[in-house]
Amino acid sequence: MTEIRDPIQFELFKNSIFSIADEMALTITRTTYSGVLKDNMDFSTAVADAQGNLVAQGLTLPGHLGSIPTALEAVMRHYRDDMNDGDVFMMNDPFDGGMHLPDIFVFKPVFVDGARIAFAATICHHTDVGGRVAGSNASDSTEIYAEGLRIPPLKLYLAGERNETLFSMIEKNVRLPVKVFGDLRAQLAACHIAERQLHELVARYGAETVIQYMRAVIDYAERLTRAAISELPDGEFSFEDWIDDDGIEFGKPIRLFFTLKKEGDSICGDWTGSSPQVKGAINATLSWTKAATYTAIKSVLPNDIPSNEGVFRAIKVHAPPGTIANGLLPAACAARGLTGFRMLDCAFGAVAMWLPDRVCAASEGGATGVTIGGYHPDRTPFIYVDFTTGAWGGRPWADGLDGNTNLLVNMASQPIEVTELEHPIQILAYEFVPDRAGAGKFRGGSPFRRDYKFLEQEGILQVRSDRRDFRPYGLYGGNPGKPSWNVLNPDIENRPLTAKLTMDIKRGDVFRHEMAGAGGWGDPLDRDTWRVLRDVRNEMIGNETACRDYGVVIDTDTMTVDEQATENLRAEMRARRGWKDLPKVLREEWPGTEEAGEPNHENAQQAMRAG
């Protein structure tokens, strides 16, 4: 391990190398074309050393942590020494270092005097890479070949010369080449900026020192990670959770099983026991599984540990090939994002068994993907890709956040007014839905609803959502959140839809998605009455919920709590419940408080077929 000889020069170097990665990210944000990049910010940037080890990742998307080394490894395997100054590599093949086809990696090796010293790395989620469904995101493809253009590691530039063959192959195989090329230009610009700044660092410190310090930055992150892990108790903890289904075999749950083993200064995360890979397009690559695992564990470590290879050395991740956590060819994986979010929930569950006061209950289940695509009457294509997340599980010290990005990503919402200006879509609602969050001493985050009205003649709606059958769990006495819900034309036919779907829509159709509510943390009967009152006054919960879930009696005319009646009711509820210990995990409300009448899958499926 490289020792830090001069802590001052080292700190200066570390600041420089991380600011390069950040500056790359800024360049992409500011110049990119697609909503999924510029607003959802589904991209990452990084600097890696000459061997492909991650040195610095930009402040972008946690879910991409770990993806860049895997991709670089593939480039190295294919090209070894066939790399020259001015080369730029591109790839997206999930079975050759990639994640899913829309995520295109662009790498630029950086040379000094003929020797490679580093890589500039970017990964961007592109609006469309072809395939059977616009947006290349569908959850119901059953093999990779349906999902779009599969690009093995190839040279996009050869010693500074454009690879016209590759460019024209891409142009003919994607629906919106202008957006794809605009976004690729942003990636190239980011790589150029990194190259220029790395050269400046070399001019200042000399190539030898730069190489040595890059190694030192990795070692430094490893030291910090191990030091932090050492302070936590040893042990082995498992957690189980289920994805509703794969969108092909409806009603067949998919098991996730995670075991966290902590020993000394390292952690092993093991996904053995998870379901075999599935037909639908939600199979994760190992790199995606790693990112979800790192995110769960990094969230209980100090916040300022740099994100790089050093972290990976202390946190090992294992996932057997051929499982949902590590799919093999020809597994479809376009919608694998879903599985990552659910793996984060599952890994947090294990952490909650290990460190009960450090993590939240289950969040909303991750980003729901809504894609609406088709053609205008003049046969020009439109594609709207939206990802939306927003409710955190209750935390041991505070309520889950309402309307805040899921921790695995750091996505922003696309402005409604811009969406309506750029796409044949009108958003009719974007607001919290009351009474859907899991009750708890600290309640889960409230989900929101989004209503999309389609304005073009005809199009295809494709939705990736989950947490319909298996609700976001509550922890230590907290209730689970209410399930997610999809409906067509809520004010007319109110037709239930499945959680994952691809369907034709026509002008005037309104698609409603209600996110799942997040799980609560702690006994709802211990919740401060003023918090319950505040939620009632703000219409985040109804008065009946205050009574039924929290045992709080409120006079809504005066907006005051009847403390005596509350005390009595809570005592009566505690007696009726008869808990000796708080249940660690709740996946359904305790008997007697559950609401009736949630439509289930069969209804939705039958309704869909009927429609």
Binding site: D22, E23, T27, A189, A227, S299, V359, A412, L421, L428
Partner: protein
Amino acid sequence: MTGFRIGLDIGGTFTDIVFLGADGEIHTKKIASSVDDYAQAIADGLDQAFRESGVAAADVEELRHGTTVASNAILETKGAKTGLITTKGFRDILEIRNLRMPRLYDLRWEKPVPLVERYLRITVDERVNAQGGIDRPLDPEDAGRAVDRLLAEGVEAIAVCLIHSYANPEHELTIKEIVQRKAPDLPICISSEVLPEIKEYERTSTTTINAYVAPVVAGYLASLRQNLDRAGVTAPLLLMQSNGGLTTAESAGRLPMNIIESGPAAGVIGAQALAKAVGLPDIVTFDMGGTTAKASLVENGEVTRSIEYQVGGGIMIGSRLLTGAGYMLKVPAIDLAEVGAGGGSIVWIDAGGSMQIGPRSAGASPGPVCYDTGGTEPTVTDANVLLGYINPGYLVGGELKLNAPKARAVFEERIAKPSSLSVAHAAYGAHQIVASNMIRAIKAVSTERGRDPRGYALFAFGGSGPIFGAGMARELGMKRIVVPPSPGLFSSFGLLYADVEHHYSRTLRRLLRNADLEELNLVWDKMVADALEQLAADGFPESKRRVRRTANMHYQGQTFELTVPVPDGPIAEDTVAALEEAFGAEHERTYGHRAGTEEPVELVNAQVVGYGLAERSSVPERFATAKASQADRTPSRQAYFGPDMGWVETPVIGRGDLDAPRPGPCIVEEYDATVVIPPRSEAALDAYGNILIELP
């Protein structure tokens, strides 16, 4: 003795007052701010300043004011009880924000509390579409019920933001009429008047902030005026806006969102004016105080502005990527990059063995170790004392005795030993690391926008800025550093150098190549007319009114815009072609690439700035600075300039001693700041009393 202008800068801790006479005569006063009623401290301070200086209230020609009263109301959530009316289906725009958070992997993150709680957010059933057409008309009775509900809750202000109201304000205007009818004295802000621009969250948040601070600012301005009248000051009151321009008290009361960041803006404007006077068109300003450091860019004599920022967003590092820390305010503001680095920042060694500075600060209490007021952790100021940069005996003026040996002992124990360094090397390291953090702020406003700092001069001010300025400039390859007179009070001077400015903007979102020239001319002409009318109302004669038009554009599909000037005269075919070319050139300059000519450029916002020019040059030719007393100053001391140079016997001088150029090293001690002039440099005074440091 006539023609005095007064600059008044209120901070959370101190109120700084500067009197500037027509002949360059200067008086300064620094007093503690009165947090309960800021206007009180101003009245008291003025009173004292009048007595001490012999200037009479009647001699005051103009009063210019920078204040944190509006930003404090937001940061402390002590604004008005505000109601918000939105379109049905969109009750929670203000609270959902744009979902993003400023930290990764942080389960402890809490969102800023929404300025309007949900029960005070009411929806009305109406809908305007993206083209401005009315899909669903507003029922005035429904709107009346919404207003009644808010009035029944006892709101003190109402904000209205309906979807697509920037394209058609009709429904918002109806609601405004209803409010004015039902509650004639209640402040009412509608988004189509406050910010007629696309993006509902930004518009809602901005409109809400405006309503939320309006009663507070109005009350403050009224109280201030009363106090001034009582003190016999009848001169007009102008307020500094976040964008660096001045505005009248009347206009600040109506659009208080424009004065939120008025304090930091003043320093940048001061630097801009002084730099123009001495013939430096391109500068980076660097303002470092006790807890934060701020950088900004002045290019071709123009300050750079951002189109939006986050109030209370805190510290810069990463914040340009990780937004969401504060309250979104989409009004033009001087583009400042801020880092949490100041004299009080704590120096420590982390678990990985690396030296870290901050983000914790010893602040004023317990303060740095050398203050001997209970501080036990080494700070940046302690490092500067150990390096010999700051007088080891006392802070200049002698009011605060320093305990350098104590600082040395703590540094030795906590920093030097664990990292096997000498105390001098460790202190120098701390100094360098702070500098490198602050360099990130400078890079954020220069290299991150494609600007090479080597072509710029560094303007260093604030209590600690001049200690670091020259060293940072050397790191960045910058050749020239300017330290203005009274660097510690410079923001108050900045107020005196500003012009009156009014900003206007209209969202167009038209492809430039298909633009309707008639529409463009109409939109710009209207804004120009509004600007001129406002300037006339402010009292500027025709010869002193200036108008500037700019176009805010991007390639179709992009989200971030770049701004280019619009040439004078009617907009014709060739103007449009020129704008398209100018945008491409700016894109290339900023990001290093541009799209082909086939890519359509979209005109997002048409913008106009109206300037009311001061009657005469606002920068005095020569500062009549009082000569500092030489009596208690030692002629030289040892200062450490890095392992290469080691300890160097360094002359300690006053600003006046730089009448003739001198080589570094030397240290200039002043009442409100210390200036470090390092080895291998040369320093001299210019005609305006600035210290100019040249690096080889």
